[in-house]
Symmetry: C2
Subunit: 307 residues, 2 copies
């Protein structure tokens, strides 16, 4: 099967790894959220793209859930000694992505071309596409005022109560080259179990991408990020509460609306009432878990295709 | 005594450390070559300023002669894995200086203000002043065409035969704030045993600085970089041969001309014939060596002041 997967960082990357490793996907395209991208110390940081690259190349730190395995911190220590900002963890190896990407962007290359080069250099089989080569910034309207994503997520540890989320630049952003084609050519489109409001919505905010999801003949399947009414990691459930929606799969299905055709959800939660659904344990700890969840999602797709 | 010292990187930094550690200098200003500065991967690298900062804060790698003690190389390894350029050695800790400096320069701060902050953060007592806040680039006209300093020095390992050296931007560059004042207020001005043609000439190419050296009442003393007709490190002797001058202290004194009043030189070499001179073993291996050479230079200054 040809599969396109919309994804954010950590949880989404696990699911994409499952798709790649399960042996049933002949062509895999990850369409990655860049609403978290930001400039830090003059460097262009793309957290979700980097998490995908680390995960699919076997470099991800499995314990900590982000960054590189065996990372060192000499840069950050020296930066701290110079009075520089240390709230955002920049590892020594991680910096190579940021420095080289920033330099190549300054020279006029696109984020998608640079990302493709990095993936090739690391021997990654799947295509990793940023959702857009244009800047889109996830901005959180909080009780403390508007915060950029990383300041909310990392510096403020998701503490400020969120009233609304917007995606600055999304109105005019174009899908990156290959994104719409991958969705239209796919046998199945997956929305990874990333935060719908913070990690998937930026992708859906690009009109070309939302239109392609509605237009494609392929079934579009959302994997619910909820396990027992909670997010495995991150602020999904807290945020849903603050935005005034129930933390259940009905709310997530309603939120995605006509963009999705079906949902794979955890066995501990009720299925959404209005669309096709399949239940499986969705917690992905081991490689075996990831492959199993991916296969369940592919099976749901096959059932929809067969109808 | 109040001392101002013009200096390049490694050899010069050792001498400046001697001045600071000898106990006879109450106010020390290092005026540092920035002709070697260059942009690499979009980062502003100031090799000589960094060498001074590492040396005076006790962070310098004493064996290798450049960079930080205990440096790690995870960034460079990752950069290499991405196909990035690895000819210039960027250590993990070293990167903090480059990234923070580049970022602050982009925000409109001056190199001299940033350098002063770094020195303060690291508890350095001496003032470290870049020769200028304006860009000056040491360019080598070689048999392989014109090369920027770092490409000649690091990438090409000083192999290409040099026909001439120029300092792009020096005609219009102003001395950095404090440079002229430090020279005019000094009891003695030292020219460290750096490469006269590559490390000191960029400083002298700034008219304000050369004028101040001629105008100051303080004696200006050059410490010869030659030991037994050879440079301790680096391409000084090779370059002098290629430029058609003898590799002796007369040639160096003639080169500096009316900018200097006297020379401290190694016991194994003949003194310059036309100016005051003092001989001492100038090889600086230990801290004791550095302090002794500094004291000999200060003694020569005292003799000139006493005349």
């Amino acid at each position: 099967m040809k599969v396109a997967a919309l994804t954010g960082g950590v949880g989404g990357a696990k699911f994409v790894l499952g798709l790649e490793a399960c042996g049933d996907v002949e062509a895999l395209t990850a369409i990655v959220n860049t609403g978290d991208d930001f400039r830090h110390l003059g460097l262009h940081v793309s957290p979700d793209i980097d998490t995908l690259a680390y995960t699919l190349s076997g470099k991800a730190n499995k314990v900590q859930g982000w960054g590189r395995e065996g990372e060192s911190w000499a840069f950050l220590d020296a930066l701290k000694s110079l009075g520089g900002p240390d709230w955002f963890m920049l590892g020594d190896g991680d910096l190579a992505l940021h420095v080289l990407r920033s330099h190549r962007l300054t020279q006029g290359e696109t984020l998608s071309a640079i990302t493709a080069d990095f993936a090739r250099a690391w021997g990654i089989g799947a295509a990793i596409l940023p959702m857009s080569d244009d800047p889109v910034a996830t901005m959180l309207d909080t009780v403390q005022g508007e915060l950029e994503f990383q300041h909310y997520f990392v510096e403020q540890r998701c503490v400020p109560v969120v009233r609304a989320v917007r995606f600055a630049g999304a109105e005019t952003a174009k899908a990156a080259p290959g994104v719409v084609d991958a969705i239209m050519a796919a046998d199945a489109v997956m929305i990874a179990p990333s935060n719908p409001y913070l990690s998937v919505d930026p992708i859906l905010a690009i009109a070309e991408i939302a239109d392609a999801l509605r237009a494609t003949a392929a079934p579009v399947i959302a994997i619910s990020p909820l396990v027992g009414g909670q997010a495995v990691k991150g602020p999904t459930a807290k945020l849903m509460g603050e935005l005034g929606v129930a933390t259940d799969n009905d709310a997530i299905a309603t939120h995605y609306g006509d963009v999705i055709d079906a949902m794979l959800h955890d066995v501990s939660d009720a299925p959404p009432s209005a669309i096709a659904a399949r239940a499986t344990p969705t917690l992905m700890k081991s490689r075996v878990d990831k492959i199993r969840v991916a296969r369940e999602a592919l099976q749901l797709a096959r059932e929809l295709i067969g109808r």
